[in-house]
């Protein structure tokens, strides 16, 4: 591996993130080129965590924009502070101030509420990491708007003029693929597809994130999760679920898996009634037995 990419991988490890070559390579390219990085993958594979780890490694502020259907510019970009504007307009009117000067004053930066996207480009201290989370949940119109912002890193506010980025932020977009991302936006970004981790990586993540879990418990949880993901499940549990489950087991004082505890805590990893039925009963016993067996 190239030394720069290896070094980034090590910094990520140092920041508490278990990386792998595809992730390190993509993050290296995204910061070096620099280009926005689009991360896709199933729910719970650690897309958001990747952006957070990048922010920790760069020592940058993480600015997060959570997308949802109906998200518009006033929640994502900026909004005027209306009550304050109205109040001051009244006060100045009472003092007999010139209306033109009042207007100029109340459409100044002091009356602007910065939302995540504007904050990301106006930060003076250094380039932040801008996480646009679940961009597939926003609608097409917002995507087009985002595309414009990502190509110029400037924002036009009619009353105020154009604001240019002080430092171009490192942008990470994540998507669960609930909707296809437009081709134009996809082409603007570098691309990383995160898969569910293999056993070795999952155990390392569990050891790192759940320090209370013994090595054996982490390995058993890892083996159980690997086996469970091979079943036909409606909602495949991700690493996020593994971590929750391991934490729950530690809290219950368990050092090993046993069928009763697994049955009682299965809700930590399976969030679907059909999946619970699918893995319940005899099926569960054999999965636990598999997980308890140490590899040869």
């Amino acid at each position: 591996m190239s030394p720069e990419i290896e070094a980034l991988g090590e910094s990520l490890e140092g920041a508490g993130y278990v990386s792998d070559p595809p992730t390190s390579t993509a993050l290296f390219l995204a910061t070096a080129l620099p280009r926005p990085l689009l991360i896709e993958g199933d729910a719970g594979v650690g897309k958001t965590e990747t952006a957070k780890a990048l922010a920790r490694v760069l020592g940058a502020e993480l600015i997060r924009l959570q997308c949802y259907e109906g998200l518009d510019a006033s929640t994502a970009l900026y909004e005027w502070n209306y009550p304050r504007q109205l109040l001051h307009a009244r006060i100045w009117e009472g003092r007999g101030e010139d209306p033109a000067r009042t207007e100029a004053a109340i459409f100044g930066r002091d009356y602007l509420l910065e939302r995540p996207l504007l904050r990301a480009i106006t930060r003076r201290e250094g380039a932040p990491v801008l996480l646009v989370d679940e961009v597939d949940r926003a609608d097409d119109g917002f995507e087009a708007f985002l595309l414009e912002l990502l190509s110029d890193f400037q924002v036009s506010i009619p009353e105020l003029g154009t604001i240019r980025a002080e430092h171009v932020p490192h942008v990470v977009l994540t998507s669960n693929r609930t909707r296809e991302i437009g081709d134009a936006l996809r082409r603007r970004c570098l691309y990383l597809y995160l898969e569910h981790p293999d056993l070795e990586k999952e155990v390392r993540i569990l050891r790192r994130r759940v320090p209370g879990a013994s090595g054996e418990l982490a390995a058993e949880v890892g083996r159980f999760m690997q086996a469970a993901r091979r079943r036909r499940l409606g909602k495949v549990p991700g690493v996020a679920e593994s971590i929750d489950w391991a934490e729950a087991l530690v809290r219950l004082g368990r050092t090993h898996l046993d069928p009763e505890t697994v049955a009682a805590t299965l809700g930590c990893i399976l969030k679907d009634a059909r999946d619970l039925r699918e893995l319940g009963g005899a099926e569960l016993g054999s999965l636990v037995a598999q997980a308890l067996e140490a590899p040869p």
Binding site: G70, W80, E180, G234
Partner: protein, 367 residues
């Protein structure tokens, strides 16, 4: 950026496009930029860098890897590019790339291309003729009904003159004209949203005529719902959407009949829908999408596969409509194994044998 790097990336891009992996010029520029950043790389790293920079989607990984390996093998037959100093002789670089591409092409011809076989693509099978007055009548009806389709409201707010929630920004702007006095409130209301439709048409022998009717309907609907997706299936699944773009109804139907591989040995509805679930469901179906399946439900495959695929589709879609021409016969009961397996996962089960029945379909497609 050195010349041979650009040429190498360009010829790899061309190879990927020929192999069916969508790669554009912008992606090639990204790839060249990325490769310049990682000068000493092994094969695995090259793969990772290219995957990120060329934006290769998960479903294309296997194809991408195969093409890349083939490409690199073609180049390895020549003196290694790392061995020669960079950009030593422009002629040499071009020569090397050309040989690489030629070797790649030869390898591909030997291995045989995965996916569609050209022979099956070329075997045409014209749809039976549809009476002219039906088509014309249908178009008239559809024009009247198309407007009704576009009725669902989005959660996005747009300025309106009528009712809606107050829009403070515009209100304040107006108030300034009257010295800060809020004389009237500007309002915003939810935008009207286009419906999203996905049609899955069974084009096996028994269904040809009906498929033709439905496709004519889809073509008319695309005016009200441009985001409509159309797939045809019999023994395999073909995405028809790109063929619907140009020309009139007749020309489009001809194009489609040329692209759908011939039917032989029976319909595999379950396998075709399972393929749809695997390749297209995540990207083309969401909570706004209505999925319409046109089929007689006579499946030669495993009903469990069909049931599983239908379950996945219903879970994701807003509504699933199954059109069955056999339903027109009052003596018909959906007892065929495939139909019985699919039925629990269908929201509306409707006939589709004439214009009137298709007319009844339209309210199902709107919100």
């Amino acid at each position: 950026m050195t010349g041979d790097l650009a040429l190498g990336v360009a010829s790899l891009g061309a190879a990927l496009r020929r192999g069916g992996v969508a790669v554009g010029l912008a992606d090639e520029i990204d790839a060249a930029g990325a490769l310049a950043l990682v000068p000493r790389r092994d094969r695995e790293e090259l793969r990772l860098v290219l995957r990120a920079a060329l934006k290769v989607r998960r479903r294309d990984w296997e194809r991408f890897d195969a093409i890349l390996d083939e490409f690199l093998r073609g180049r390895a037959a020549r003196p290694r590019r790392d061995a020669a100093p960079r950009g030593a002789r422009p002629g040499a670089a071009r020569d090397e790339v050309e040989t690489g591409v030629a070797a790649w092409g030869a390898g591909r011809a030997r291995a045989g291309e995965p996916g569609y076989s050209p022979a099956a693509l070329l075997r045409t099978r014209p749809f039976p003729d549809c009476p002219g007055e039906d088509l014309a009548g249908m178009e008239r009806v559809l024009e009247r009904l198309a407007a009704r389709l576009a009725a669902r409201r989005s959660r996005r707010l747009v300025p309106t003159r009528g009712r809606g929630v107050p829009d403070l920004r515009r209100s304040l702007r107006r108030a300034l004209a009257s010295g800060g006095e809020l004389a009237s409130l500007a309002r915003r209301a939810r935008a009207v949203e286009e419906p999203r439709l996905v049609f899955l048409c069974d084009t096996s022998g028994s269904m040809d005529a009906h498929a033709r009717f439905l496709l004519a309907l889809v073509l008319a609907l695309r005016r009200a719902a441009p985001a409509t997706e159309v797939f045809a299936f019999n023994t395999s699944l073909v995405r028809l959407t790109p063929m619907l773009a140009r020309g009139g109804v007749a020309a489009t139907l001809d194009r489609i009949s040329a692209a759908v591989p011939d039917w032989s040995g029976g319909t595999r509805i379950g396998d075709s829908l399972a393929r749809f679930v695997l390749d297209h469901l995540a990207e083309r179906v969401d909570r706004r999408t209505v999925v319409v399946v046109l089929s007689d439900g006579l499946d030669r495959g495993d009903p469990a596969v069909l049931a599983e695929a239908m379950r996945a589709i219903q879970e994701r879609a807003r509504r699933v409509v199954w059109l069955n021409p056999l339903l027109a016969d009052p003596r018909y009961a959906p007892t065929a194994r495939g139909m019985a397996a699919a039925l629990p996962f269908v929201d509306a089960f409707l006939p589709a044998h004439d214009l009137a029945s298709l007319e009844r379909l339209l309210p199902q497609l709107a919100a």
